[in-house]
């Protein structure tokens, strides 16, 4: 590789990094700007917007609502995603290909179509728009991701482990709980964090399945439609920091596990 191409490559990387980071850096900077007007230049700094954002009941309750939805939907995705992964780990059974395709289906349906199909479906099962509907939508959407992460880990587990457990007197259920689950733990933790973040960040499903109470992304969306405000900078910065830390942690633990 010549020096020119190497230079070009590294410029591409750093240029891309700037493209990704500049917007959020500006957002963070704006959250400390001591003025109602959003834009440069910044003449004086303040942390008041954070105080206001936290004091604002709307943001707090939307965050709580989003968290609740994320936790419950993740619990469901974890159970079903893991269950499907274990089923798909069976080498061959009639219709395995179909079950695999169906498992992955929610991951390939474009966002708006997924949201619309859930909106129509909850009408069929007579579920009103609201928290339960959002939880349902998020849970279904996250199952393929959990199944993929858990399935990858399961693929590295020797068959002899579960056989040894059964040989020592465990039925398949006890063998699963005492031997397979501990083996899957890193993947399940990673999958759970991933699922929590997907749910917490989700806009389109929450928007179409919600009633009057908004999740945090839906609240931010409606605020943005009516104009920017410094409070949005503050709350977005807070969310960015918390989710980035969680996301990095999950990503790291999963990569470690796949290497080790």
């Amino acid at each position: 590789m010549t020096r020119h191409t190497r230079l070009f490559m590294s410029m591409a990387y750093w240029g891309f990094a700037i493209y990704l980071f500049l917007p959020i850096t500006i957002m963070i900077a704006m959250s400390f700007k001591d003025s109602k007007f959003i834009g440069f230049p910044i003449r004086s700094w303040t942390t008041d917007w954070y105080g206001q954002a936290i004091a604002n009941g709307e943001f707090v309750s939307a965050t709580g609502y989003s968290l609740l939805v994320a936790v419950v939907s993740t619990a469901i995705s974890m159970v079903m995603g893991t269950w499907l992964a274990v089923l798909l780990a069976r080498k061959s059974f009639w219709g395995r290909g179909v079950v695999f395709a169906l498992t992955m289906l929610p991951a390939v349906v474009p966002g708006i179509i997924s949201a619309i199909s859930f909106r129509i479906y909850i009408r069929l099962i007579e579920l009103d728009p609201g928290m339960v509907a959002i939880i349902f939508g998020h849970a279904v959407h996250n199952v393929p991701f959990v199944a993929l992460v858990v399935g990858a880990r399961l693929g590295t587990m020797p068959r002899s482990h579960t056989e040894a457990a059964q040989d020592l007197g465990a039925d398949p259920l006890i063998a699963f709980l005492r031997v397979t689950v501990p083996y899957l733990k890193p993947a399940m933790v990673g999958g759970a964090v991933f699922s929590l973040l997907l749910s917490f960040d989700d806009f389109v499903r929450s928007f179409f399945l919600g009633s009057y109470e908004p999740t945090l992304p839906v609240l931010l969306f409606s605020k943005l439609r009516s104009g920017m405000s410094p409070e949005i900078n503050a709350i977005s910065t807070l969310v960015l920091i918390v989710t980035a830390i969680l996301g990095l942690w999950a990503e790291r633990s999963m990569r470690r596990m796949n290497k080790g």
């Binding site: 020797p158 056989e163 040894a164 059964q166 040989d167 020592l168 465990a170 039925d171």
Partner: protein
């Protein structure tokens, strides 16, 4: 209750089109160390997995201690297994691994602790009791797996090539250990391997399998000295195999026409003229500069003289075939490659086998 721990009655198992076991029959007595020996795909592992409950036979019946267990899942059988990769649970210490089977049997805490101490002291693992499997060596892991399988006091212990992962030196040592453990516990060991050396060293009884069928079932001496089939003769130990036609057979002795010569050896039955093979162990072939007085003699030219440590191996080209002979190292350095030599062996050292 019968004295047979295992009774496999006309068991057949197919995987797709491949027949792994073909109408297999065998009985194993309490306290025996039985080795199932054969090349990969011969059905030995399938037999083991059927006894463990991991595979169900397509037809036939399996009895353990007189009870029909054909349809019983692994967790309900008084059989434990040492897996090829040991399958120690990585998130549990040695103690927890051994306790696993005891807990599920419904033993109380104090009984479990006593049993763990008993078995781990016996296998000299007490110092490692709180280590995790990845913190102990390969040989220690092998013993931990053995401890875990012995702890629930099974009627039958299955060992699936458990020495395969050890290096040659350690393997030799563990072979002796295993045999003495088996003897002192009085447990029935069902050992599977493709390594004939291992089988000869440890077993009370060896079952040689090939293509889903039992080729021969007997003591190590039987198999080595009196192979019943060409497969067994070739699979166990090193041997010279000569191809010829059967002559007359009487009183367990037979003649074989080979390269215009009549050789005599042990033969069971057969019709004169049928093609046969004769097996002569390398160490039974005597090499000498002059024509020896053995029952069978051939002359040839020495092609190679190979140093094997405690012995020397000679490769002799005769008109019909290249034969191998071994002799203790000390008295055999005199032959030079290229020289004419004589080979001789007695009637009792040659086994004539029908094809």
């Amino acid at each position: 209750m019968t004295d047979d721990v295992v009774h496999i009655d006309r068991v057949t198992k197919k995987f797709g089109k491949i027949t792994a076991l073909d109408e297999m029959n065998i009985k194993i007595k309490r306290g025996e160390f039985v080795t199932f020996l054969g090349p990969s795909g011969c059905g030995k592992s399938t037999t083991l997995r059927i006894l463990g409950g991991f595979e169900r036979p397509d037809s036939g019946t399996v009895y353990l201690s007189g009870q029909d267990v054909t349809r019983l899942p692994p967790n309900r059988r008084k059989v434990n297994m040492v897996f090829q990769d040991y399958a120690l649970f990585p998130h549990m210490t040695v103690r927890q691994n051994v306790a696993f089977g005891l807990e599920l049997k419904g033993m109380g805490r104090s009984a479990i602790d006593a049993r763990i101490t008993e078995i781990l002291s016996f296998l000299e693992l007490m110092p490692l009791i709180d280590r995790f499997p990845d913190q102990i060596s390969g040989g220690q892991r092998q013993r931990a797996a053995l401890a875990r399988a012995l702890a629930p006091d099974p009627d039958l212990l299955l060992l699936d090539e458990p020495l395969g992962a050890l290096d040659a030196r350690l393997r030799a040592q563990v072979q002796i250990e295993l045999k003495s453990i088996q003897r002192s516990t009085g447990k029935t060991f069902f050992f599977v391997t493709h390594d004939q050396d291992e089988a000869l060293t440890m077993s009370d009884r060896i079952v040689v399998m090939n293509g889903g069928k039992i080729e021969q079932d007997g003591t190590p001496e039987d198999l080595y000295l009196r192979p019943k089939t060409r497969f067994v003769a070739e699979f166990i130990g090193e041997t010279n195999m000569l191809e010829g036609q059967l002559g007359t057979v009487s009183n367990g002795t037979g003649a074989m026409e080979w390269q215009g010569q009549t050789l005599t050896g042990i033969a069971q039955k057969g019709t004169p003229g049928q093609p046969v093979h004769a097996s002569i162990r390398l160490e039974r072939v005597q090499i000498s500069p002059e024509k020896p007085s053995h029952d069978n003699v051939v002359s040839g030219r020495l092609v190679n003289s190979l140093f094997k440590g405690n012995r020397r191996m000679f490769e002799v080209k005769t008109p019909g075939a290249t034969l191998l002979a071994t002799a203790p190292e000390n008295d055999s350095t005199a032959y030079l490659p290229g020289s004419e030599v004589w080979l001789g062996w007695n009637r009792d050292d040659m086994i004539i086998l029908a094809d």
